[in-house]
């Protein structure tokens, strides 16, 4: 037996010594790909929106836990997904508010502050624990206060957030959604986000991501989306997709002395010199679609490598495309500085209004009760469509559900689906989800009254007089398209069109966020306890002092003398008045 063991050992040694099985040489098949893309779209108001998308696709099954060798996919996120059984993760950190009415439908909107929604694997037994752990780890990775996500701001939506990736079941108990509207986004969140990119900010489109320019903008939103996708058309195997997106809106109109012309250098104070060497696709799209049927108003320089036409969110769009990987682009000049000039001043009156937009505000007066009003506009000339409204309200605003009214065109509009989960004090927030039918060309007004609760004095955040934020409400809708859309191949089409799955040719998916609300709560005077302590203590001390004196003094009869100062003073007055002296 010993001899056999020795022989086996020898065999093992021999195996270890000989080189590994035949390796594919230079043409080794990559299992992960990176695509990077920048979309520049001039907005009707003269601002410019820049949307970066970096998409890493990895043909490996992250879930098994056996995969631990990372190339383009960042290890920190990969381990997170594997360790906590995450099926889909969407994290957005946003500063500012996307003004849908004037800027139009955003390619990707996120609510102000931090938003996190995660679908877990069915195998995860304790979803709440995994959710807590996940938010803690993410807050470490992104330097954000996501660790403040707890049961008081976490909800389980039933209809609004469907998995965006591959999913075989949609049991909403595996979903968690939380928004932190108070979160401030700044450079310290951008740096770790950039670090997740394979090329960092050293090459490719990411060189434009210069923090001091990005945060000098009207809107900044950075996001991470992780989801499983089909590996190929037959969808027999799963690939994992990581999308890092970043949207900024620059106000070039006011910074450019009233001119709407812009260039890459003006906005980012950098220009593009090359593509990320790891990327299989690196493109810049510039939206040059004519706003009305007239001839083009704007011109871009240098001439684009190609022109791409697509129907995006119900609109026919034309894009000038610069392919950074094409050798032609850098032939003439070493760097690419896309410039756009308007041929004649644009009429702001011809601004198209998006089909679906919304608005929200707090009504009422005083510090006891109030009212949340939401206005949803459907500007489609002849089509009605349903919309799902998700409203999360913290527990300290006590909603009166019986006051919920939905009025469209002066008539009551009964929601076809309603899900309400009442709040529990200090435990969980209110959750209200409704499916509302929006008639064509209408405004729907939703109001609900609330009462403000009194908090314990330790529950107030720093600076409580600033007010308390109520997160944005979420509108999800399949908006009917005026122009029929073609089914597009996800791998071929530009990235900005392919995050939300399109259902059919006649409608497109839109998710909108309304403004966050700032509500004042009755706030006590926080120095009061100390004042009270001081005052009571002084009173007690004075009482004590006189009592003490009373107890310890020895009283004895004083011989009448010439009298003190008081007596002499009294005598002077008496003398003046002509009264007998004391």
């Amino acid at each position: 037996r010993a001899g056999m063991a020795a022989a086996l050992l020898l065999l093992l040694l021999l195996l270890a010594a000989c080189p590994g099985p035949g390796r594919a040489g230079a043409g080794r098949e990559r299992r992960d790909t990176l695509r990077e893309e920048l979309l520049l779209s001039p907005l009707p108001t003269g601002d410019v929106a820049a949307t970066f998308q970096f998409r890493t696709r990895w043909d490996a099954d992250l879930q098994r836990g056996a995969v631990s060798h990372y190339r383009l996919f960042p290890k920190a996120l990969g381990r997170l997904v594997a360790a906590l059984g995450v099926r889909e993760l969407h994290l957005a950190l946003t500063q500012g508010f996307w003004r849908t009415r004037v800027w139009g439908q955003p390619p990707l909107q996120a609510p102000a502050g931090a938003e996190l929604w995660v679908w877990f694997q069915p195998a995860v037994t304790d979803v709440d624990k995994a959710w807590k752990e996940l938010s803690n780890i993410l807050s470490g990775i992104f330097c954000a206060s996501l660790n403040f996500i707890d049961s008081t701001n976490t909800v389980i939506p039933t209809a609004s957030f469907k998995p965006l990736g591959l999913a075989n079941g949609t049991d909403h108990h595996l979903l968690r959604y939380a928004v932190l509207p108070r979160e401030v986004v700044c450079t310290e969140n951008l740096t770790p986000w950039k670090k997740l990119l394979p090329c960092g900010s050293k090459a490719g489109l990411a060189v434009l991501l210069k923090a001091e320019r990005l945060f000098h903008s009207s809107y900044h939103s950075q996001a991470v989306h992780i989801r499983p996708v089909c590996r190929d058309a037959s969808c027999m195997a799963v690939s994992w997709e990581l999308r890092q997106t970043l949207t900024v809106v620059f106000d070039v109109f006011s910074s450019g002395q009233g001119k709407k012309d812009w260039s890459l250098f003006k906005m980012f104070s950098r220009t593009l010199t090359d593509a990320c060497p790891l990327a299989s696709q690196s493109k810049v799209y510039v939206d040059i679609s004519p706003k009305n049927k007239e001839k083009e108003l704007l011109e871009v320089t240098p001439p684009p490598t190609s022109v791409h036409e697509a129907v995006v969110q119900g609109d026919k769009k034309t894009y000038a495309v610069y392919d950074l990987l094409s050798p032609l682009l850098f032939n003439t000049s070493r760097s690419l500085n896309v410039q756009l000039k308007w041929k004649r001043p644009q009429d702001s009156s011809e601004m198209p209004i998006p089909v679906l937009h919304a608005q929200r505000y707090v009504g009422g007066y005083g510090l006891q009760t109030g009212e949340i009003c939401t206005l949803i506009y459907n500007t489609h000339p002849y089509r009605a469509f349903p919309v799902i409204l998700l409203e999360t309200v913290p527990w300290y605003l006590r909603l009166y559900v019986h006051t919920l009214t939905i009025i469209t065109k002066g008539k009551e509009n009964k929601p076809s689906y309603i899900h309400y989960q009442p709040a529990q004090d200090r435990r969980r927030p209110h959750l209200l989800e409704m499916l509302i039918q929006l008639p064509a060309n209408s405004v729907t007004k939703i109001t609900i009254q609330f009462e403000r609760a009194l908090l314990k004095w330790t529950e107030y955040p720093p600076d409580p007089n600033h007010g308390f934020y109520v997160g944005s409400s979420v509108l999800s809708a399949l908006v009917p398209s005026v122009i029929p859309m073609k089914d597009v191949d996800v791998e071929q089409s530009p990235l900005f069109t392919s995050l939300f799955p399109s259902s059919d040719g006649s409608s497109y998916f839109v998710r909108l966020y309304t403004e966050p609300l700032l509500v004042n709560l009755p706030t006590p005077d926080f120095s009061m306890p100390y004042n009270v302590i001081c005052l009571t203590c002084t009173v007690v001390a004075v009482c004590y002092g006189s009592f003490y004196n009373l107890l310890t003094r020895t009283f004895h009869v004083e011989e009448p003398s010439r009298g003190g100062l008081a007596k002499r003073l009294a005598n002077v007055i008496r003398k003046l008045r002509g009264v007998p002296l004391l």
Partner: protein, 495 residues
Amino acid sequence: QVQLVVPVAVVFSPGSVPGDLPSPLPFRDVQEMEISVNLRTSVTSRYEMAYQGTTAQEEAAMAVTTAREADAALRPLQDVSMGSLTMYVVPENSSLLPQGTSVYVGRHRSALVRAGGGLAALHARLRQVTQVMSFTATSIAAALSDRVPDGRLSPDARRSLKSSLGYEITFSLLNPDPKSHAVDWDIEGAVNRYVKPVLDKLSLVANFSVDSQILYYAVLGVTPRYDKESSSFLLSAHSLPHVINPVEARLGSSAASLYPVLNFLLYVPERSHSPLYIQDKDGAPVSTNAFHSPRWGGIMVYNVEAPASPQASLPLQVDVDMARVMEVFLAQLRLLFGLSREELPPEFLLESPGNEGLADWELDHLLWAHTVENIATVSTTLTSLAQLLDKIGNIVIKDDVASEVYRAVASVQSAMAKLAVGHLHSAFQASKEAVTSSERAFFDPSLLHLLYFPDDQKFAIYIPLFLPMAVPILLSLAKIVRETRQRKKEPTKMD
């Protein structure tokens, strides 16, 4: 007081029994050794020697030509429990051992020792072998390095990793210049082929997880110096400490676990800086082109050969020779676990650990050190917890924290009892449990809340009460003092 007991069986083959044995075989004997760490801590080691003659089977097993074969053949006949050792004494003229070597340490828990020079010489030799195969004074001191006074410990002793329940091993390929080098490494195969056998063996000591990543545009923190003579770039030894910091920021922390991370970096220098060589303190190039950082990991520089023709298209395809890389990384891994095979007398011959990368007795070596270190850690943790309780009287200890503390104490006691009877494996398990319980007790969140209301702040709040109240008391005190003084003066006046 920790007592480490090593059971040693000494087997004399025919013709090797020294003439001056105190009693006829078999007999038992105990040798003690005191290892003092500092003034208050010392460790006693007891070697329980059992002397006996060979059995017929053992004789048959040793009737082979080489030491390696004898080692393999003797393996099934030994006591295989961890921590116990078996020494086979062979005659002085035996041909089993090569010329010039007097001790052969096998792959398992046994050694062949050449007899000769009487009992005293044999004793000395046996003691040396047992120490190499179990623990030495320095390895125990290194394990208790927290308690050793500064300066008494060599820097080598501070190199090995602290004992932990688990380790994460991360291999990172740094490619600062992806435009000119497209570097590929078959890390998955290499891990399975070279690292996994070692870790399987080490899995007894701790949990290991292995992963790898490729980092692009990650540069070292030091610009290498150009050397005209060899037309290469040089990194001198004194600049190496500055190399790690900028890379460290990119490595990414292990967010999902709390175990210490061992980093092994393979650095492919950029085209404008290659070839790159590391110089040692004397200015000579380091043959492996690698260095390690204590308790952190290792870095290896992997130079890419310049293409034959300068017109070769970029990026250059590079396939990393993983055997060469892993050889270096595994050597560094052994170093970081304190398993160096240096400092041995020349007449010792150690069998190479083979595919597993680790001999059985080396595992024991690690277990001895880790058990002692765990016991020391638990005692430190519990002592600081006790000190905390002494300092803050009103801290609340919940029942579960208390039970963790009791469990930790019980586990430590059982670990020490197991060590004192020579059951290394169960002692190690008990010490691991003790560490878990004590850490859980010490880091319990309930021990934190009450810390933040110190007594001086309470006093500050009540100052508005105390201050006005003190005024009349102080005034009357002053009055009393004045009066007594006057009363003292008065009698002299009366006279």
